[in-house]
């Protein structure tokens, strides 16, 4: 029998709140420790317990860990979804289900269905009923470990680390794992299971982490000292991770916090607090998602006109309130770019992976302080809450850019006009709270001011000011992260951004044609984006929203050759997959 090594996807269907997170995490991390490229995705409901949830583990020697539509191995532990789960199995794949449900369903004949006595196996665990129930998930880890030939001592070690400090849970979980292994040894050795996890050179200097944790490390390294927020899925863990690690990394010698975190009464208040803190001269941000972003709109306009450095870390999802808060999307691109009233425009950053989630934790503040503007970082649920591989994160060597902040000495040498363009860049120097120079103070208000920050309703003052703000956006084009371009002299080009990056290499392989690639990392778009479009005969913009929002923003730019651009969209709330986009792209090309 020939084996398929390090190339498989497992989908584990459970009920949320049943404790499967530990088991799934142990299985995923064990594969990671074997040096096998992996990714983990949790497809979960907006509910605390009792509803269907699926955890997807993809192991792929080539490093393709984006989503797939089907899995080679499906483990169905949720009676509610038995039929649905069967449909997830790839033809020729394996379907493990609970044996007591056998009579209820007829199985597909192109898959191998294996009944497992989970219930009776779980009864053998020696523990209190509640612990027993939670620990029982480790039984399937034991079974799968044996089938995939994952070293048992490795799994056991990972489990020990995962449950550090939880003594009663530890014993029950280890026991459950052993029960699973033993059952598989005694009953499944004859199963012709072709998938194998084989040990590779262990990864050096890699982490397996979710994007929000990477963002939290990035914000800490980027000097963030103020967060005000209102909890909202899927951005909550940005702040909770920040709080957990700041506790370890951001205290002074007396054990006092060099940062403040305020849980606000609503998102408008949260972002208003950020404005207060940013105006006062510290690196301040909030984290939110679409519905929260909507509430922040008024203050976003204020940030634009009063020129207050500020950051919103927006983890995109579907909306609104009772929408699908646990499903992923890139649907806030347009609303973020133009959030608020009048001629407002904001700087956007699109992190695509763990490393960028981290790096942009500093970049967002560098840009916000240099340009005295709101910067909105657009992550998404897939990147933010799922588990990805990336390098161990190290603070950037690049120094913070604190922008033009005048101190007392500088004010002595030159006059200070708060809203006067100093060098044609549109950027006006500012002062911050605590500067005691007699000229330092100024009166901050919305847009009704002249270049000296004095009250003015004169048409010419307003016009002059907004034209300067426009110049600042031109300057921003030269400062924001440039696109990552891979030019292969092909006719067709792909433009994409954010978490769609995870499928691109695989997509290119599936397409079997050469494609030029351009990953956009920021708005306003830098000149290189339009050079890329000019260099292709046709460009497809891949994005995760219905309305092709980024494509529309590209088409708004005079430099854009609109006739060349088409869009490929994915917007059902599931993570984007290479196989589905490849199919769409093939259809498009066939029609050309």
């Amino acid at each position: 029998m020939s084996y398929i090594e390090n190339h498989f996807t497992i989908s584990i269907a459970t009920v949320n709140g049943s404790g499967s997170q530990t088991a799934n995490g142990v299985l995923l991390r064990s594969l990671f420790r074997m040096g096998i490229p992996v990714g983990g995705k949790n497809v979960f409901p907006s509910n605390i317990s009792g509803m269907p949830t699926w955890f997807w583990i993809r192991a792929n020697a080539k490093g393709y860990v984006g989503a797939t539509q089907k899995a080679e191995i499906v483990l169905s532990l949720n009676p509610q979804t038995l039929l649905q789960d069967q449909e997830l199995v790839k033809s020729g794949g394996f379907f493990f289900y609970q044996d007591h449900l056998k009579s209820e369903v007829s199985f597909r004949d192109d898959i191998v269905a294996v009944a497992l006595p989970f219930k009776s196996l779980a009864e053998r665990i020696q523990a209190a009923p509640k612990v027993k129930k939670l620990a029982s998930n480790m039984i399937y880890v034991g079974i799968l470990s044996l089938l995939f030939k994952i070293p048992q001592e490795l799994v056991s070690k990972v489990l020990t680390q995962q449950l550090e400090g939880k003594t009663s849970a530890m014993a029950a979980n280890q026991e459950a794992f052993a029960i699973g292994v033993k059952f598989a040894e005694e009953n499944l050795t004859n199963l012709k299971f072709p998938y194998r996890a084989t040990m590779q050179t262990p990864f050096q200097d890699r982490v397996l982490m979710d994007g929000n944790t990477a963002a939290a490390f990035g914000l800490i390294s980027g000097g963030c000292q103020f967060i005000s927020w209102y909890p909202i899925t899927p951005s909550t863990s940005v702040v909770e991770s920040f709080a957990a690690y700041a506790e370890k990394l951001c205290k002074d010698e007396n054990g006092k916090n060099k940062y403040a975190i305020v849980q606000a009464e609503d998102e408008l208040s949260a972002f208003s607090m950020v404005l207060g803190a940013g105006w006062a001269g510290t690196r301040a941000m909030t984290a939110t998602s679409g519905p929260g972003l909507s509430l922040m709109a008024e203050a976003a306009g204020y940030a634009y006109y009063a020129e207050i450095p500020s950051v919103i870390w927006n983890v995109q999802r579907l909306g609104p309130s009772t929408g699908l808060p646990t499903r992923t999307a890139q649907g806030d691109v347009l609303s973020s770019a133009f959030l608020s009233h009048g001629d407002t425009k904001h700087i956007l950053l699109f992190p695509a992976n763990l490393e960028e989630s981290f790096v942009f934790g500093q970049t967002c503040f560098d840009l916000a302080e240099r340009l005295q503007q709101l910067v909105i970082v657009l992550s998404d649920l897939d990147l933010a809450m799922n588990l990805w591989m990336g390098p161990v994160l190290r603070p950037l060597e690049t120094a913070y850019d604190r922008g033009l902040v005048l101190c007392e000495k500088e004010l002595d040498q030159a006059g200070f006009h708060r809203y006067a363009d100093s060098d044609g860049s549109g950027i006006a120097p500012r002062t911050v709270l605590g500067n005691t120079h007699p000229q330092a103070a100024y009166f901050t208000r919305g847009s009704g001011h002249n270049h000296e920050a004095q009250y003015s309703e004169k048409a010419s003052d307003y016009e002059k000011n907004v034209l300067r703000l426009e110049r600042k956006m031109e300057t921003a084009k030269t400062l924001v992260p440039k696109p990552i371009v891979q030019h292969k002299n092909a006719a067709i080009g792909l433009i994409y951004y954010g978490s769609s990056d995870a499928i691109i290499e695989e997509l290119c392989e599936l397409m079997q044609v050469s494609l030029n690639l351009c990953r956009i990392r920021a708005f306003p778009f830098s000149a290189e984006v339009f050079d890329f479009i000019d260099s292709c005969e046709q460009v497809f913009v891949i994005e995760q929203n219905r309305d092709a929002q980024l494509k529309k923003m590209l088409c708004m730019e005079p430099a854009c050759d609109r006739k060349k651009i088409k869009s490929l969209v994915h917007f059902d709330g599931t993570p984007i997959s290479a196989d589905s986009i490849a199919q769409k792209l093939k259809n498009e090309i066939a029609h050309v």
């Binding site: 680390q161 408008l268 208003s272 006062a280 204020y302 190290r394 009166f443 901050t444 004095q454 009250y455």
Partner: protein
């Protein structure tokens, strides 16, 4: 919070603001004047003050005093939130906010209550005239149920009592005054500036254009006639000798954290003790039934920690930290990632 500096070099001129653009005779102009007096008499340099406001006639007030203080004329109802952010960054400065009854009680009620819950150190003045002046006279949530608008319309909803709300939300310095009572207001502001936490002063300040007619309970004549001053107030800085020759039964001395004192001589109700929360709430409730307006210090409790303390924040202002202080070392950051490897 900063120590309030005594300096002789600064004269009254340094406390001036831009010329007022409010209606002639507006009660709010008296508030600007009394703020200037209070800050000047305290020897509080304008550079130590940060002026905050929301939106409305009230929120224009910061433009009319102390031009050499930083100011943030924010958004409607957002003074509390913006001040919270700025105050956490510069705990050494004195935040003086001027909001209105609409800015506080209508659009900004949530922010007002939560600011107090957090005990953000700031003086929160409410220039209360019962109406929206800038949009020409609609009732605010502070309009009394029986009050008539300029066009003769009667207010039909119960009014909010900002002082009672503040006490219930945990505020430790709650007062009510009248823009026409210079002595009372100046003493209250001086004491409020020394309070370590949120100090709320509800200032009845008539709108001469839209709410100064017969039938209004916020007109000059109505307030003057119904003002029931609870105490005669005297503020004495830490250095000053307390000169208040009051009978012991009538006298109450409250010490503030910097050693200064607010001395009260009880007038209308000799048994009223502003350190008793239930008495304060009972008093406000009793007065609701009469048309009288109790003014003076309503509640005082300096036992609650202010927000910076609750958050375990460093003493040093946050905006004085540099990259060297903030960027973690490679070793420290890598150490925290061990469990992800």
């Amino acid at each position: 919070m900063s120590e309030i500096l005594q300096t002789e070099k600064i004269n009254l001129k340094h406390y001036e603001g831009r010329p007022s653009t409010l209606c002639v005779g507006c009660g709010h102009d008296s508030i600007s004047k009394h703020i200037i007096t209070a800050c000047f008499q305290s020897g509080l340099p304008p550079q130590q003050v940060v002026k905050m406001s929301g939106i409305g006639c009230s929120s224009k007030i910061p433009a009319y005093f102390m031009s050499s203080s930083f100011a943030f004329n924010s958004m409607h109802g957002r003074m509390a939130a913006v001040s919270t952010g700025a105050s956490l960054v510069r705990r050494d400065l004195n935040f003086l906010g001027v909001s209105g009854d609409g800015d506080t009680g209508n659009i900004g009620l949530g922010g007002f209550i939560h600011l107090i819950r957090r005990n953000v150190p700031m003086v929160y003045l409410i220039a209360n005239n019962g109406v929206f002046g800038l949009t020409k006279g609609q009732f605010s949530a502070a309009a009394d149920e029986s009050s008539l608008s300029k066009s003769g319309k009667q207010a039909t909803l119960p009014s909010l009592d900002f002082c009672a709300l503040a006490i219930q939300a945990g505020c430790g310095f709650v007062a009510r005054t009248f823009s026409g009572d210079a002595k009372q207001m100046v003493s209250l502001i001086q004491a409020a500036l020394r309070f370590q936490g949120t100090a709320v002063i509800d200032i009845l300040s008539p709108c001469v254009t839209f709410n100064n007619h017969d039938g209004s309970t916020k007109s000059f004549s109505h307030i003057k006639e119904h003002d029931r001053s609870l105490q005669e107030l005297g503020f004495f800085s830490a250095q000053a000798e307390i000169q208040a020759d009051y009978a012991p039964m009538e006298k109450l001395e409250l010490e503030l954290h910097d050693g200064s004192h607010l001395v009260l001589r009880k007038i209308s109700d000799k048994n009223f003790d502003p350190r008793d929360k239930m008495q304060a709430l009972q008093l406000l409730q009793n007065f609701r039934h009469s048309l009288e307006i109790p003014t003076g210090l309503l509640y005082f409790d300096d036992s609650r920690p202010f927000f910076q303390t609750t958050l375990g924040l460093v003493e040093k202002p946050l905006n004085t930290y540099t990259e060297n202080d903030l960027k973690p070392s490679v070793e420290a950051l890598v150490e925290q990632q061990k469990k992800f490897q």
